[in-house]
């Protein structure tokens, strides 16, 4: 079919193309299935609205950071929630692909195996970017300023996208290892626990023990604080570095676990 005249792509370009195609597929899947979109956008937005109204008086508590409003404080937490649930949703979607046999179709194709995982992560990263932009728009509409302006907004988008990718790796690893959507779905309470035991929804110093101590050492708190500082005050190099280090750590863990899970799946078929 005219292959003699077709110029073949180099292996890197070919793999990138596959990653982009699979990433696009996973984004479309998410937007076409409300069950996947809801945890990423709908529930975090609802929770943001409710917590802002319900716990908004907290800004009057002694020791609460100086903020324009409770909404301004909460935006970073909403982004974190969205990203964690995006990782979980991505894992569920990959597990569904495994259950349906779609991944077998990919494994049988002449592509690098790991592009299958990277494609899923690309999709999760894109959703992370979307979530970051969404909440920045919410902040704009409801009058919560980003104190560092455009730079702070861009930083938020970059950090959220990286976090989504890192968390997505963990979700993908669990999906590849278990092959079961209900197992990945069953981790939803754990995601909630991680969020609550962090500074996502309240300043760590004002939380109640033992949540306060756990939040201090929770890597998610480092990411949220790195996101929040440019929104409510100014950039802090140490906070930013800590956030990036935390993301890198989670990302590395996700990479190692998903590579191992993929190898196991290819070796044993299950």
């Amino acid at each position: 079919m005219g292959e003699e005249g077709t110029k073949r792509l180099g292996p890197v370009a070919a793999n990138l193309r596959v990653v982009a195609a699979l990433g696009l597929r996973s984004v479309k899947q998410t937007f076409r299935r409300p069950q996947l979109m809801a945890p990423i956008i709908v529930f975090p937005t609802l929770l943001l609205a409710i917590q802002t109204g319900g716990a908004g008086s907290a800004v009057d508590l002694p020791g609460f950071p100086a903020v324009d409003s409770f909404l301004q404080f909460m935006i970073a937490g909403a982004m974190a929630q969205s990203v964690m649930l995006a990782g979980n949703s991505g894992g569920i979607a990959l597990a569904v692909d495994i259950e349906m046999g779609f991944t077998d179709r990919l494994f049988a194709a002449p592509i690098s195996r790991f592009t299958i995982v990277l494609g899923r992560l690309a999709g999760t990263a894109a959703l992370g970017t979307f979530a970051a932009v969404w909440f920045l728009v919410i902040a704009f509409i409801f009058g919560a300023p980003i104190e560092t302006g455009v730079a702070g907004a861009l930083w938020a988008i970059v950090l959220v996208t990286l976090t989504a990718t890192a968390v997505g790796g963990i979700g993908a690893a669990i999906a590849l290892r278990s092959g079961s959507a209900s197992v990945v779905q069953g981790l939803f309470p754990l995601v909630l626990v991680l969020l609550f035991l962090s500074s996502a929804f309240f300043p760590q110093e004002l939380m109640v023990e033992p949540a306060k101590t756990i939040a201090k050492y929770n890597p998610l708190s480092l990411i949220v604080d790195g996101l929040r500082d440019p929104i409510i005050s100014e950039f802090s190099a140490s906070e930013a570095a800590a956030a990036l280090l935390s993301v890198a750590g989670i990302g590395l863990l996700g990479l190692v676990l998903s590579a191992a899970a993929l190898r196991r799946r290819l070796r044993t078929g299950g």
């Binding site: 709908v42 609802l46 626990v193």
Partner: protein
């Protein structure tokens, strides 16, 4: 068999089937059972110091937020019933029920009653954990009121979920089922007394009938149990069940359209 005996036997059989979801799918029930407790512990740990603000008529946030999580558990359980019904419709199982001669209300009653009974599981777990971390025991009257309201909310949530399942006939509306319950329960005095709520939430909580239900379920955990606080909540829950139940039944009758 006679009419009412036949209907009762059918409801019992549908309850027995619903039990399988918990007993025969390992781990499937755990998120629904644990999530309210996790939410409770989370809210307690995160927002516990809100109690320092003036306006709370208790010094225990741990006790204050119990009803929120109790009703959330009921809401999740009821919404899950709707999701299961949507799955049954999509996969063809519901045709088996639809083609049977059972009255349509009997088919619905099976789902709703099962949700109501199942809601006691997360409620029991939550109450045990709450007592363990120092929440005030509500006394027999407070406990009874809370349990009745939990079961009533679960039935209401199941009617809501069933209505959506029968109308849309797709699991894709699961988020709508869950979000609906989420919203109606949290846009109340869930987090703080009315006077401490801000902006739009204050307005909504004032008119949201579930605020009355939350406050009634809070009796015993915070303050005394009184009939004047209890009966409006019971009436509201009964009214919501009647309304949503009628709508769900209408959708069931229109399933063939």
């Amino acid at each position: 068999m006679g009419g009412w005996r036949e209907n009762l036997a059918t409801i019992r059989a549908l309850l027995a089937r619903a039990k399988n979801e918990i007993l025969r799918v390992p781990g499937a029930a755990i998120p629904g059972v644990l999530a309210p407790t996790i939410f409770y512990l989370g809210l307690n740990g995160v927002f516990g110091n809100l109690i320092e603000l003036r306006g709370f008529d208790t010094d225990s946030y741990t006790s204050y937020i119990i009803p929120v999580s109790l009703l959330q558990g009921a809401g999740f359980t009821g919404a899950a019933t709707g999701v299961n019904m949507a799955r049954d419709i999509e996969q063809g199982w519901f045709d088996r029920l639809a083609v049977s001669p059972s009255p349509r209300w009997v088919l619905l009653a099976g789902s709703v009653i099962s949700a109501s009974l199942r809601s006691l599981i997360p409620a029991t777990v939550l109450l045990c954990v709450a007592m363990a971390i120092g929440a005030d025991f509500p006394g027999p009257a407070g406990l009874a009121v809370a349990i009745v309201l939990v079961m009533g909310m679960a039935a209401f949530a199941a009617c809501w979920g069933s209505m959506l399942a029968l109308h849309y006939r797709s699991q894709a509306v699961a988020p709508l089922m869950q979000a609906g319950m989420f919203l109606i329960i949290l846009t109340t005095t869930a987090y703080a007394p009315l006077d401490l709520l801000q902006g739009w939430l204050h307005t909504v909580a004032e008119i949201n009938p579930i605020t009355q239900v939350i406050d009634a379920a809070r009796q015993g955990f915070v303050g005394e149990v009184t009939w004047s606080e209890t009966w409006p909540a019971l009436l509201i829950v009964a009214g919501l069940i009647s309304l949503l139940g009628s709508l769900a039944l209408r959708e069931l009758r229109r399933l063939a359209a």
